[in-house]
C-alpha cells in the first residue's frame, strides 16, 4: 500500500467525445498505459512517460499528455527528481536508473560561445555557388611529408601515410549496441552512414550479419564485455574502437538489463537468454597506458594495422589521459562528454560524474599541441551535440569530427523521454520487443536521418561561408573565431577563447 508515493509525472487524457474507440493508442503504447474497458479506453497514467507515440497515432487528436499539475510542493532546493528518487529508493532499496544524457541545469558552454562572421574587411563566401570542403580524414598524420621525383618527372609522396578513414563531413554516429537499440535502429544508422559517406559504430554488442553490406561505413567496438568480438568482426569495419568509458557513466561498466536480451541478442553476445549482459567497469587487461598499448597493438596485429580508436569519458584529468592514449598508439581519441547519452545508467552517476565536452576538447587539443603530438591522432568529440552549431563550435575548439547519437535517435521518433533502460520504447528504438521494433521501418527512417545529416551539412557550409573560409580544416582548432559570452576569465582561459567584444 506504500507503493508509488510519488504522483505520476504526466497525465494521459482522452477526450471521450472525440475518441472513436479505434484502440490505436492501446496498440501503440509500449508502456501499457491504455487498456480496453468494454466501451471505452481505460488509462493507467502512472505508466506514462510522455513519449507521445499515442498522440501521434491518434487519428482524432483526442489524446493529450499533460504535465501533472499535482506535484510535490514547489521547492527551489528539493527538486522533483530529488524527492521522487528518495521515494523510489525507500520502496526498492535500489539504484535509480535513467536513460539519455543528463538533463540537469549545469551551464551549457556551447550556449555561451558565439561564432565570428565576415563584414566589409574580409569577404564571406557563398557556399551555394562556391566550392566548400567538409571532407575529413580521421587517423594519424605524419609530422612531415617527403616528396620525391618519380620516373615520369612528377613529384610523388615518399612518406608512407598511416591508414586514414575518409568521411564526407565531420559528423559521425556514436556507438550504440545491438541490444541497447534494436537491429532496425542500427540499420537506420548504417544506411544513413553509407548514403552520407560517414560512419556508424556497432557499440559493444557484435555486428549483425544484416549490417555487413554497410561495413565500409562501420567502426566495430571492443569493450570490457568483449561481446561479439572475433577475427571476422575485427576485420569487418574500417576501424576498431576500444571503449574505455562513456560520458554518461564514466568509470562504471554496463549492465544491459535481461529484459533486452532475447535469443537473437543473446546469440550475438554469446550469453544466456534473459541474463543481464555485464560489461565490467574496467577492462581487466588494461590497468595502465602500457596495457592499453598492448591491446591496441593486439588489435592492429589481428587486423593488419587498421586504425584503432580509443573512447574515453571526459573526466578531470582528460588531457593527460588523452596524451597517454595517443602515445599508446591510438589513431583516434574519442572524447565523450558529461552530457553524453546512455541506454541505461544510474542517474547518480550520469548526473554527477565527468566534465562537459567543451572543456575536454580544449584541454586535450591544447595538451597534444604542447606536446607536439596533435598530428598523431584525430579527436572525435561527442556528448551532447544538438545542432550543427554545436558541431562547428566543437571543431573550432579543436575536434576533428563530432559524433552524434541522441540527435540521430530523435529522427527515429525519440522524444528523449529517458526510459531506454526499460526495453519498452514505443518507437521501436531502445527495445527488443518484436512488436515494437517492427514499427521502425529502416528505409523510411533512414531517409529522415539522411535528411538531418544533409541539413547539417548545408548549415556547416553556411557557417564556414560566413566565416570566410572554404574548408572545415581551416576551422579546426581555430578558437580565434569563437567568442565567449558571460563566461568568467578562467573558463575563457581554459577554452582558449576571448570574450565577446575583444
Amino acid at each position: 500500500m506504500f507503493k508509488n508515493l510519488a504522483p505520476p509525472e504526466y497525465l494521459a487524457t482522452i477526450d471521450q467525445v472525440k475518441c472513436i474507440r479505434c484502440k490505436r493508442c492501446i496498440q501503440n503504447c509500449g508502456w501499457g498505459v491504455y487498456s480496453w474497458g468494454g466501451d471505452k479506453v481505460l488509462i493507467n497514467t502512472s505508466k506514462c512517460v510522455k513519449c507521445l507515440r499515442c498522440y501521434h497515432y491518434c487519428p482524432e487528436e483526442a489524446i493529450q499528455i499533460v504535465d501533472n499539475p499535482t506535484r510535490f510542493k514547489q521547492n527551489a532546493y528539493w527538486g522533483y527528481n530529488n524527492i521522487r528518487n528518495i521515494k523510489r529508493q525507500a520502496e526498492t532499496g535500489g539504484i535509480p536508473l535513467t536513460g539519455m544524457g543528463s538533463d540537469l541545469p549545469y551551464t551549457i558552454l556551447f550556449d555561451n560561445l558565439l561564432i565570428d562572421a565576415c563584414q566589409v574587411t574580409n569577404p564571406s563566401i557563398d557556399p551555394l555557388r562556391e566550392p566548400m570542403e567538409l571532407r575529413t580524414y580521421l587517423g594519424k598524420k605524419p609530422s612531415s611529408v617527403d616528396v620525391e621525383k618519380g620516373k615520369d618527372g612528377k613529384l610523388k609522396l615518399k612518406t608512407k601515410m598511416p591508414p586514414q578513414i575518409k568521411i564526407d563531413l565531420p559528423v559521425i554516429f556514436s556507438p550504440m549496441s545491438y541490444g541497447s537499440i534494436s537491429l532496425n535502429a542500427q540499420k537506420v544508422l548504417a544506411m544513413a552512414a553509407k548514403e552520407c559517406g560517414i560512419l556508424m559504430n556497432t557499440g559493444e554488442g557484435g555486428l549483425h550479419e544484416d549490417l555487413l553490406p554497410y561495413k565500409d561505413n562501420i567502426i566495430v567496438q571492443v569493450a570490457s564485455g568483449r561481446f561479439g568480438v572475433n577475427p571476422d568482426y575485427l576485420n569487418a569495419g574500417v576501424a576498431v574502437e576500444i571503449k574505455i568509458g562513456q560520458g554518461a557513466k564514466p568509470g562504471i561498466g554496463g549492465h544491459l538489463p535481461g529484459e533486452k536480451i532475447p535469443l537473437e541478442v543473446a546469440r550475438a553476445r554469446m550469453i544466456p537468454v534473459g541474463t543481464d549482459a555485464l560489461s565490467p567497469a574496467p577492462q581487466h587487461d588494461i590497468y595502465s597506458i602500457e596495457d592499453l598499448r598492448q591491446l591496441i597493438y593486439a588489435i592492429k596485429e589481428a587486423t593488419n594495422y587498421k586504425p584503432v580508436s580509443v573512447k574515453i569519458a571526459a573526466v578531470h584529468n582528460v588531457a593527460a589521459i588523452a596524451s597517454g592514449i595517443v602515445r599508446a598508439g591510438a589513431d583516434i581519441v574519442y572524447l565523450d562528454g558529461f552530457r553524453g547519452g546512455t541506454g541505461a545508467a544510474p542517474s547518480i552517476i550520469r548526473d554527477h560524474l565527468g566534465i562537459p565536452i567543451e572543456y575536454a576538447i580544449a584541454a586535450v587539443d591544447d595538451r597534444l599541441r604542447q606536446e607536439g603530438i596533435r598530428n598523431e591522432a584525430s579527436i572525435v568529440a561527442a556528448g551532447g551535440i544538438r545542432s550543427s552549431a554545436d558541431a562547428a563550435k566543437a571543431i573550432a575548439l579543436g575536434a576533428d569530427s563530432v559524433a552524434i547519437a541522441t540527435a540521430a535517435l530523435i529522427t527515429m521518433g525519440c522524444t528523449t523521454c529517458g526510459k531506454c533502460y526499460t526495453g519498452n520504447c514505443s518507437w521501436g528504438i531502445t527495445t527488443q520487443r518484436p512488436e515494437l521494433t517492427a514499427r521502425l521501418d529502416p528505409e523510411v527512417y533512414a531517409e529522415r536521418l539522411i535528411n538531418l545529416i544533409h541539413a547539417w551539412e548545408h548549415e556547416l557550409k553556411e557557417i564556414l561561408g560566413a566565416l570566410g573560409i572554404n574548408a572545415i580544416e581551416s576551422l579546426r582548432g581555430n578558437r580565434e573565431r569563437l567568442r565567449g559570452v558571460g563566461l568568467d576569465a578562467q573558463t575563457l582561459d581554459i577554452l582558449g577563447v576571448k570574450p565577446a567584444g575583444r
Binding site: Q89, G94, N230, M270, P272, G274, L278, H284, L295
Partner: protein, 245 residues
C-alpha cells in the same frame, strides 16, 4: 616441419613471418628461441600447428581462430584473450588474465596460473570455450563467467597451498566451473552455488580431461582419483535487484 628462428627478432617481424608461412600453406611450424615476443598467434586462422620453444610474451593467441599453439615452457599474461577457436597447450605455468572473454577453443595449462583467469568467458550452444589448469589459480577465477567450462585440478600442490584464491566465480551468470577436491563456500562469490557433478558433468569432465592428459602426457586415472565439485551460477541475473526502475 617449417622452422623459424626467433632469436633477436622484433615481434612484428616474427608474427609476419608466421603469418606468411601459414599463408604459404605450412601446416606445422616450429618457432625456436622465442624470448618474450608479444602477440604470437594473434588473430591467426586455419588449422596449422605452431610449436613454440622458449617463453612467449603477452597476448599470445589473442583473437585466434582455429590454430594450435604448443608452448614448451612457461607463458606470460593475457593468453587466449577473446580467442574464438583453436587450442593452446602450455607445458608450464602461465600468468594473469588468461582466456578473457574467450569464445571457443581450448586452453590447457600444465602448471599454475595467476589472477583473473577465465573471466567473462562466453558460450552459445556448441560454441563454448574450455580452460583446464593443472595446478593452482589465483583470485577471481571465473569472474563474470557467462558460458563455457573452467576446470581446475590443483595437481602437485605443496602442502598448505590453496587450490584457488578468493572471489571464485564472482558475478558468474553462465557456464560451469569444476574444481578437483572440495571448495570452501567462503571463498566463492555470492552468485555461485556448489554442487556435486551429475552424470552429464562426468561426461564433460572425462572428455575434456582425456584430451588434456593426452596433450600434457598425464594419466587420467590419477586425476580422476579425487572427486570434483561443480560451481554454477545461482541466478541468471545476479544484479537484477540492484536497480530501481
Amino acid at each position: 616441419m617449417f622452422e623459424i628462428n626467433a632469436a633477436g627478432v622484433y615481434y612484428r617481424d616474427l608474427n609476419r613471418q608466421i603469418r606468411d608461412a601459414i599463408a604459404a600453406g605450412q601446416k606445422e611450424i616450429r618457432v625456436r628461441n622465442v624470448n618474450g615476443q608479444y602477440y604470437i598467434g594473434d588473430g591467426l586462422r586455419g588449422n596449422a600447428t605452431i610449436i613454440i620453444e622458449g617463453v612467449p610474451g603477452n597476448d599470445m593467441a589473442a583473437f585466434m581462430d582455429g590454430t594450435t599453439l604448443i608452448v614448451k615452457a612457461n607463458a606470460q599474461d593475457n593468453i587466449s584473450n577473446t580467442m574464438n577457436s583453436g587450442k593452446v597447450v602450455i607445458h608450464g605455468n602461465a600468468g594473469d588474465v588468461l582466456g578473457y572473454g574467450m569464445r571457443g577453443g581450448k586452453l590447457h595449462i600444465l602448471g599454475d596460473v595467476g589472477y583473473r583467469v577465465g573471466i567473462h568467458m562466453k558460450g552459445m550452444k556448441r560454441q563454448a570455450p574450455t580452460i583446464v589448469v593443472g595446478g593452482t589459480a589465483g583470485d577471481f577465477f571465473g569472474e563474470y563467467m557467462a558460458g563455457g567450462v573452467l576446470i581446475l585440478l590443483g595437481l602437485n600442490r605443496k602442502p598448505g597451498i590453496p587450490i584457488v584464491g578468493d572471489y571464485l566465480g564472482t558475478g558468474m551468470h553462465g557456464g560451469a566451473i569444476y574444481i578437483r577436491g572440495d571448495v570452501d563456500k567462503n571463498i566463492c562469490g555470492a552468485e555461485v552455488g556448489i554442487m556435486d557433478p551429475d552424470a552429464e558433468d562426468e561426461k564433460v569432465l572425462k572428455e575434456s580431461l582425456t584430451e588434456f592428459c593426452k596433450d600434457l602426457d598425464l594419466k587420467l586415472e590419477d586425476i580422476m582419483k579425487e572427486k570434483f565439485r561443480k560451481l554454477v551460477p545461482v541466478s541468471l541475473r545476479p544484479y537484477g535487484n540492484l536497480y530501481a526502475y
